[in-house]
């Protein structure tokens, strides 16, 4: 029995236990203990985070003469650590006051199902991360898809249900694409094992590689929500019940990135992918993938800018931040890949904290609609602090951890000589900064509404995990070396030169980064400012919110003076015309095309008009006979159609 066996078995048994006791109040405590123990098991495997040998599971299966097996390498361990730790924070977050309220509003059964969905998500993600060959990868992939669907389907709202159905349609498309790619890989290389495929890839033609990368890319890209498959994710994650959204938003979509790194970076290797030129253009396959990442940073981020609901805004950011990871990984040098992989960790920490803060606000006020919030900073100062620290991370501003990974991606783009991609990434960051300001302003700053005068701070059980995440965000921002150790090991595992780093940051001949110095200088500046404002002057005066300038207007509680509707009117005047809902229309067009075709065939199938059917059958039969004389090769495609129609003749 290896430690991996322990982990998977333990999580599987824990899932059963949680499902069994889901109606009892003890399920909250049980789940916290489960994730804590799973974290301990992962810590026992921590040698993987510092370049240890992969750990294999002793359970194997034999299919088609292929050995299915499960193993953890440094990359899997890195992703698994994030998954389990976020699940731990989430389970603490949902264990106390939130659980009581949710049980009252819905039912104990609904809460138990949420816990069950969470543990099944964790289990399926661990199975996916542990996969050692293509078939076990596919098994894990499907488990993750259906576990996510279970989580999304818990909210009974019409919007949420629709989003969940939309998700599962996308996920099915992704699974089909991946299955096809796996079948093709098997037929081309005769193996499902990573190592054997890696050796066989050298003999494949560029066309074959391009086809495989496209199919895998579409499959994994749908899970990540990259352009043009970004439409499903935001609504599906945002509408999931609070803690579910925390977990899903933080880590779920990153499974796509994990699989993409394993397949495209590790097995096919980016040098091979970069060798595939796209005909009639100056781009190659790697450029295409990098540009997909860049567009994914820009478009969803600017869609987030227009959202008027805190959860949707965050979920759209989740899609956009995935673009940074893809962009970083696709640069293919040690700095860029490190930035991309490190961003997974950083993003998970601040996205979880942000979703928790928004859920806490919803818990106290009952809404996440910007038009109904504002001025909560005096009532919920600690939640405000959590949100401020997290949005500093999300916007990529020092001294929080988001800065380090974004810096790495920018640095790699500059060193790599990719000015256009660099500008695209910067445009994405600009949108991020604007929309996180919108988030914090419309929720916590501005005018406090009358009905929120007595709102209290979030309860301790919800605050503690938030504050814990804040410590991680700040701690790994000041000392990114802690995470970079793991990232370097993961890079080593997928065959990329590991990044040279120290505790404070990155050593680089062209100018590195030392966050300890950066933070020191920043806090020195803060200290000077604090001395000037608080000790030398001390003349500040606190005033009531109605003692505010509104063009000379007298403010009362009847006059709303909180600017939240159409927040960036000036900016939208400039860029508003660019929002054309292109992808939405494309999706609608596809949907109506499919429904038109199915309607057409259904009508034809069910039609009670024998004359039309006889004419059609006669026509097709005639065509079949004629073509069998002239073009015998076509019979294979025509025959099934005739059979189908003959089978459907009216009774």
């Amino acid at each position: 029995m290896s430690v991996l066996d322990d982990l998977l078995l333990f999580t599987a048994l824990a899932s059963v236990a949680i499902i069994v006791v889901r109606r009892f109040a003890s399920v909250s405590k049980l789940s916290v203990i489960v994730y804590a123990l799973a974290t301990v098991l992962l810590v026992k495997m921590s040698a993987l985070g510092y370049g240890g040998e992969p750990i294999y599971s002793s359970f194997t299966l034999n299919v088609l003469g292929q050995n299915l097996y499960w193993r953890f390498d440094s990359l899997s361990w890195f992703f698994a650590l994030i998954t389990v730790v976020i699940a731990l924070f989430t389970s603490v977050f949902m264990s106390g006051a939130w659980a009581e309220k949710y049980c009252q509003e819905h039912s104990t059964e609904a809460y138990g199902l949420l816990q069950a969905a969470l543990v099944l998500n964790v289990l399926s993600m661990l199975v996916l991360l542990a996969s050692g060959d293509l078939l076990s990868l596919f098994i894990g992939w499907e488990l993750v898809s259906w576990a996510s669907f279970m989580m999304m389907f818990l909210n009974q709202d019409k919007v949420a249900r629709k989003a969940a159905i939309k998700y599962i349609v996308y996920a099915m498309a992704a699974a089909m694409s991946i299955l096809m790619a796996i079948a093709m890989t098997y037929s081309m290389t005769g193996s499902l094992d990573y190592v054997q495929i890696m050796q066989a890839v050298a003999h494949l033609s560029n066309t074959q590689i391009a086809l495989l990368v496209t199919l895998y890319g579409v499959g994994f890209g749908i899970k990540m929500g990259v352009i043009p498959f970004h439409l499903w994710q935001a609504a599906a994650y945002a509408e999931t019940p609070g803690p579910g959204a925390v977990f899903m938003g933080a880590i779920s979509a990153r499974m796509g990135l994990y699989a993409l790194i394993v397949i495209v970076v590790q097995i096919f290797s980016l040098t091979r992918v970069a060798a595939i030129e796209i005909p009639y253009t100056f781009l190659n396959m790697q450029n295409i993938l990098a540009w997909v990442g860049a567009l994914t940073t820009i478009i969803p981020t600017y869609i987030a800018l227009k959202q008027n609901d805190a959860r949707y805004l965050l979920a759209w950011h989740g899609v956009g931040q995935g673009g940074y990871m893809l962009l970083g990984v696709m640069i293919a040098d040690s700095i860029g890949t490190a930035g991309g992989i490190m961003h997974v960790f950083n993003y998970a920490t601040y996205q979880a904290a942000l979703f928790m803060a928004v859920t806490a606000v919803m818990f106290r006020t009952g809404t996440s609609n910007f038009s109904k919030l504002g001025g909560l900073v005096t009532q919920m100062p600690l939640t405000f602090m959590v949100m401020v620290v997290s949005i500093i991370g999300l916007a990529g501003i020092p001294p929080m951890n988001g800065f380090v990974s974004k810096w790495l991606v920018y640095r790699a783009l500059l060193l790599d000589g990719e000015p256009l991609l660099f500008v695209a990434a910067v445009i994405g960051t600009l949108g991020t900064i604007l929309s996180v300001y919108k988030l914090v302003h419309n929720t916590f700053l501005g005018q406090l509404r009358l009905e929120h005068q007595d709102v209290k701070e979030a309860p301790l059980s919800m605050l503690l995990p938030m504050l814990g995440l804040v410590l991680i965000i700040f701690g790994t921002g000041v000392m990114p070396g802690v995470v970079l150790d793991w990232v370097a090991a993961a890079q080593n595992a997928v065959g990329i030169a590991p990044i040279t780093h120290n505790l404070g940051g990155i050593e680089l001949a062209q100018g590195g980064l030392d966050m300890i110095w950066v933070t020191g200088v920043m806090f020195y500046g803060f200290a000077v400012g604090a001395i000037v404002f608080y000790f030398l002057g001390g003349k500040s005066k606190h005033i009531h919110q109605f003692d505010n300038y509104a063009g000379g207007h007298f403010l009362t509680s009847k006059v709303r003076y909180h600017y939240s509707n159409h927040f960036y009117a000036g900016l939208m005047h400039l860029i508003g015309g660019w929002y054309k809902d292109f992808f939405k229309k494309l999706e609608q067009a596809l949907v109506s095309l499919v429904s038109f075709l199915s309607q057409l065939s259904e009508n034809f199938y069910r039609s009670a008009q024998p004359a039309v059917l006889v004419a059609a059958v006669a026509f097709i039969a005639l065509w079949f006979i004629m073509s069998s004389f002239s073009m015998p090769a076509d019979t294979g495609t025509v025959a099934p159609i005739t059979q189908g129609i003959q089978g459907g003749l009216p009774k």
């Binding site: 005096t378 009532q379 100062p381 701070e457 005033i543 919110q545 109605f546 300038y549």
Partner: protein, 233 residues
């Protein structure tokens, strides 16, 4: 205009300044203050039309260190550019009270001096400095940009010479101004600002700060305490 004379710079009475360089510092501060004027123009009447040429390339007020500002909290000058109706006057007073000291008021056009062509109007406040302490009037109907700039320079000269202290008069004789305001708006007149508290903050309260009108105000004023930051579970 009220005769307030030259009010000494150090407001804390009984505290003798021993630093021999104090005068130098005062002059330096006054010099800097007079050259960094941010004005909030409350464009109430036709006088506002003379401001665009005064501010833009032809007369270019900015070369003198005067530029527009969007909020009263960061502004030094309140520019009232024409007749003030009773309704407008309430807004002007609120805006003035929200400005941070030291603050200056310039009345442009004859209407602010004595009502001008609106002398017979029932809805217009005639003499602006009955309601606010005005530093400089620029008469004319309307005054040309040169006159506007001349008025501004007069204000700057006053500040530099330590004479621009009309704002202190508002705190020192608050009861007088409040009385005129109550006469116009009725006894239930109140703004969300706390002038008496501010007078105390600056050490500018005199016996004329209080009076019968402040007593009327105290009877119905609802103090607006700022929201306290609190952590309550």
């Amino acid at each position: 205009m009220s005769k307030i004379g030259n009010i000494p710079v150090n407001a804390q009475a009984g505290k003798k300044r021993t630093n021999p360089l104090a005068g130098v510092f005062d002059e330096l501060v006054q010099f800097c203050q007079s050259r960094s004027m941010f004005m909030l123009h409350y464009c109430t009447g036709c006088g506002a039309i003379e401001l665009p040429p005064a501010m833009t390339s032809r007369f270019d007020m900015e070369r003198l260190g005067i530029q527009p500002m969007v909020t009263p909290r960061q502004a030094d000058i309140l520019l009232v550019t024409g007749y003030v109706s009773v309704k407008t006057l309430k807004r002007v007073i609120l805006t003035y009270e929200q400005m941070q000291s030291p603050k200056y008021v310039i009345g442009i056009c004859s209407c602010t001096v004595n009502g001008g062509m609106y002398w017979q109007s029932y809805a217009t406040a005639k003499v602006l400095n009955e309601y606010l302490p005005v530093d400089v009037y620029i008469a004319g109907c309307m005054p040309r940009p040169e006159a506007v700039i001349e008025g501004m320079r007069r204000l700057m000269r006053n500040i530099e010479e330590g004479k621009g202290h009309a704002w202190k008069d508002y705190f020192q004789r608050y009861d007088y101004y409040l009385g005129n305001q109550q006469h116009l708006f009725g006894d239930d007149w109140q703004t969300p600002t706390d002038i008496i508290g501010e007078a105390r903050h600056y050490g500018l309260e005199t016996e004329q700060t209080y009076g019968e009108h402040t007593r009327i105000l105290e009877q119905h004023q609802q103090p607006l305490e700022p929201h306290k930051m609190r952590i309550k579970f």
